[in-house]
């Protein structure tokens, strides 16, 4: 090596500046300016399908694509360790590669794994001499054994984070009393075992450690299946078991975690999905990308330097969400920076907008529904209250109407009472006289009984009119209902010195509804008519009530020979509070119309040709034997 003098240093500086200027000028064109693609030979320690290799390959290609330099042709070779090894294999392989790549000399060699790096260094004198080497997935321990490395050999070391993983596993399983470490028999397996044996003693006193090293797989699985959840399993996986059977570490771990009674931890991210809970894991894809950056640097003209800082890819904590759930690890115990696999993104995470929109819709809808329900309830209460008030009003009006009949009612009760009194007194006198006229006394008793029943009947009818009753919907004979209140109306008419005539149809007039309400209609109309003739001379005071019925309808008419209805009164006759009487409230006819309409009928008023008014009420006929609504208990 020439000593570095000022002159040389100046020349170098000049050259650097020139190159820098050139690169600035040419940089955008450089990719196209150099049409010759670079050859990149990747030599893997193990088989093609080792998951670590697949991941590293993917990372490598991603990293190469990031580079702005020459396009790289990637060639892959696999040493298939541990199945092939020994000096003879190295010889054969190097001869094969030399022949194979004679026409495609590599510009950079990537050694993926310790065996590949060892092979390259070993064969470098006669195979691909002087070609820069970038390695990856080689542990510091192996590197130190291979040291010193030539200056054009650089790369990405791997760190197996056994201790941190054990630490994390113990944190997640505080009840664990035993740590079971599984290793195999291949050189790589032995290397992991060596590292583990050097690191495990630091946990002494906190956890019992047992090594299951080099067991045949069936024996190992039998052991693992007997473990309880007070144990932890740390498995690097193995390439070869105690019986000499080859595996990929992932395959080995798949078998172990399938039967293990204790959670299994590992340190490669390729084990995720094979049943391990997790661990601080080396990321092969990231290492591949990192290696590709080193390759790009070499291809762009820079030399890999052993002085360059070691570009280790830091291991990250990986967790299999399903396994974590299975072993009862609280989601809160998983650090935020952990990479969580297989967690179904929550609805919130995957459809945030949709969820927000749905929630908004739901809230609005709920609000609306609640509003409507409140409104509905309020309306229902209002309807109930209105119905209640209407019933109260009808009842109050009926009480008032019956109140107008008080004189008639008193008369109707007084007559039989008077007869009973006189009969009783007559009987007394007959007994006092000593002449025992037994037949006469018997007759008197019979009469007393009859009059008593008669007074009772008046009270029964009165009670029917005055009672607050549930509105009925039953079939009844309109004529019979009219006849029922006829006596009282007759008495009232006599009291007012009015001739009251009833005409009955001579046949039943069946209709549906509430009998008492229809009686109320009749009483209201008759009292109105009696009022209408009140100021006429006695001889002209006449009111007629007729019940009629035909095939379709039944009804009643109340007419008088009063002054008739004025033209102004006719249109508003049935309105509330319209009254021509000084004492009336004006509710009578309004209530009549309300009751009639509630029975599906109609009421009309007109003036008679020979003076006076006629009110006509019609209802639909309802025969018991024809189709139609039946009353409740039918």
């Amino acid at each position: 090596m020439l000593p570095a003098g000022p002159l040389r240093s100046a020349t170098r500086r000049f050259a650097c500046l020139w190159l820098l200027a050139l690169s600035f000028a040419m940089a955008p064109l450089s990719a196209m300016a150099d049409p010759k693609p670079a050859n990149l030979l990747v030599i893997y320690s193990n088989g093609r399908l080792l998951p670590a290799n697949v991941e590293a390959d993917r990372g490598l290609r991603e990293g190469l694509a990031e580079g702005v330099g020459r396009h790289a042709n990637v060639f892959d070779e696999f040493l298939d360790a541990p199945r092939f090894e020994g000096a003879e294999f190295v010889e054969t392989m190097s001869a094969f590669l030399r022949g194979k790549y004679a026409k495609h000399p590599p510009d950079v060699i990537v050694a993926a794994g310790p065996d590949a790096l060892a092979f390259c260094l070993q064969t470098r004198s006669h195979l691909f001499a002087g070609i820069p080497i970038v390695y990856l997935v080689v542990s510091e321990g192996i590197l130190s054994r291979l040291a010193p490395l030539p200056p054009d050999v650089t790369g990405i070391p791997i760190v197996y984070e056994f201790s941190r993983t054990i630490e994390q596993a113990m944190a997640w399983h505080p009840k664990a009393r035993q740590l079971v470490v599984v290793t195999g028999t291949s050189p790589q397996d032995r290397a992991w075992e060596d590292q583990l044996r050097s690191e495990v003693p630091r946990f002494r006193g906190r956890i019992e450690t047992e090594f299951l090293s080099g067991l045949p797989t069936p024996a190992l699985l039998a052991r693992l299946s007997r473990l309880g959840d007070d144990s932890l399993v740390l498995a690097a996986g193995y390439f070869r078991d105690g019986a000499g059977t080859d595996f990929t570490p992932r395959e080995a771990v798949l078998g172990m975690s399938a039967v293990s009674g204790a959670p299994v931890y590992g340190v490669f991210n390729t084990l995720i999905g094979a049943g391990v809970v997790g661990g601080y894991m080396a990321d092969f894809r990231a290492m591949g990308r990192q290696a590709a950056r080193a390759v790009n640097q070499v291809l762009e003209g820079g030399q890999p330097s052993p002085d360059a800082p070691v570009r280790t890819v830091p291991a990250t904590l990986n967790v299999d969400w399903n396994e974590a759930r299975r072993w009862g690890i609280s989601p809160r115990a998983i650090p935020d920076n952990a990479v969580v696999h297989f967690r179904e993104p929550s609805l919130w995470e995957s459809h945030r907008v949709a969820v927000l929109a749905s929630l908004a819709v739901l809230v609005v809808q709920t609000g609306l529904i609640a509003g409507f329900m409140v409104e509905r309830r309020r309306r229902k209460l209002a309807v109930q209250a209105e119905r209640q008030q209407r019933a109260e009003l009808l009842h109050a009006s009926r009480v008032a109407t019956v109140g107008e009949l008080t004189g008639a009612i008193a008369h109707e009760i007084n007559q039989p009472l008077g007869a009973i009194l006189s009969n009783a007194e007559a009987a007394e006198m007959m007994l006092d006289s000593g002449t025992h006229q037994l037949d006469g006394l018997r007759q008197i008793l019979a009469d007393i009984r009859r009059d008593d029943l008669r007074a009772g009947e008046v009270i029964r009818r009165l009670k029917g009119l005055l009672d607050k009753h549930q509105v009925e919907h039953q079939r009844f004979d309109l004529d019979e209902a009219v006849a029922d209140v006829e006596p009282i109306l007759r008495v009232e008419a006599r009291r007012r010195a009015v001739v009251l005539e009833f005409q009955h149809p001579g046949a039943a007039a069946p209709m549906l509804g509430d009998r008492v309400q229809i009686q109320q209609v009749l009483i209201n109309l008759v009292l109105n008519a009696l009022d209408a003739v009140a100021d006429l001379p006695e001889a002209r005071r006449w009111v007629g009530v007729s019940v009629f019925q035909d095939a379709d309808q039944v009804g009643l008419a109340v007419q008088d020979r009063g002054h008739g209805l004025s033209p102004q009164a006719l249109p508003v006759l049935f309105d509330s509070f319209y009254s021509t009487k000084t004492s009336g409230m004006g509710l009578g006819l309004s209530i009549v119309r309300t009751l009639v309409q509630a029975h599906g009928g109609q009421v009309t008023a007109e003036n008679r040709v020979d003076g006076g008014a006629r009110f006509r009420v019609e209802f639909p006929r309802s025969d018991p034997n024809v189709d139609g609504p039946h009353h409740g208990d039918a």
């Binding site: 009973i420 009194l421 007559a426 006599r494």
Partner: protein, 211 residues
């Protein structure tokens, strides 16, 4: 003088449309020692001849057809001079005033107790007897009045009018003594002791004729 038979009981007429009440009243009156007849209406009563016997009419106020008041008003036209007792379930003041003014003995509210009824009947019979007596007196008076000659009647009118003998003599162009004689004859025939009594008799006769 046509006096009634010595011992027949007073006859009660019960007019009420309520059959059962009517029957009970009739029964009660019979038990109380009266003879009683029932009528369903005013018309029914008027259709039956009423014997001239002491008694009274028990009348319901309100009945289909003519009312009790109508019947009361119609009685004189039918020569029925019996006192009337009203019974009513509707005891309103105007009706009772009208009934009493028309000469009713009493206005009873139904139901009527025996005691009340018997007392009212007692008063009615008393009045009936009194009216009968009055009617008899007037009939006698009228008979005696008929005995007066036309000349005596003319003098009597003048005397009752309060004229002096001298004035009457001048008006009739006879002597004062003739007038004195005629006056004495009138007093004798009519059974009056004084001229003043003569005036009272004539007054009673006039009132009786107006009935």
């Amino acid at each position: 003088m046509a006096m009634p038979e010595p011992n027949p009981p007073p006859l009660m007429h019960v007019v009420d449309d309520d059959e059962s009440l009517r029957a009970a009243l009739v029964r009660l009156l019979e038990a109380a020692g009266f003879e009683a007849r029932g009528y369903a209406s005013a018309g029914d009563f008027l259709l039956h001849p009423v014997p001239d016997r002491p008694g009274c009419v028990l009348l319901d106020v309100r009945m289909p057809g003519p009312s009790g008041l109508d019947l009361q008003a119609a009685l004189p036209a039918h020569k029925v001079k019996l006192p009337v007792i009203f019974m009513t379930g509707f005891a309103d003041v105007p009706t009772s005033v009208r009934a009493m003014k028309a000469g009713a003995v009493d206005f009873l509210e139904k139901p009527v107790q025996r005691q009340t009824l018997v007392e009212a009947i007692g008063r009615a019979l008393q009045r009936d007897e009194q009216q009968r007596r009055e009617r008899n007196d007037i009939a006698g008076l009228r008979e005696r009045f008929a005995l007066l000659s036309p000349r005596e009647q003319t003098v009597l009118e003048q005397v009752v009018a309060g004229k002096l003998n001298k004035q009457i003599a001048a008006a009739l162009e006879v002597s004062e003594r003739t007038i004195k004689t005629l006056r004495a004859q009138c007093m004798d025939k009519l059974g009056a002791a004084t001229s003043a009594e003569l005036g009272t008799l004539v007054e009673r006769l006039r009132r009786g004729s107006a009935d």
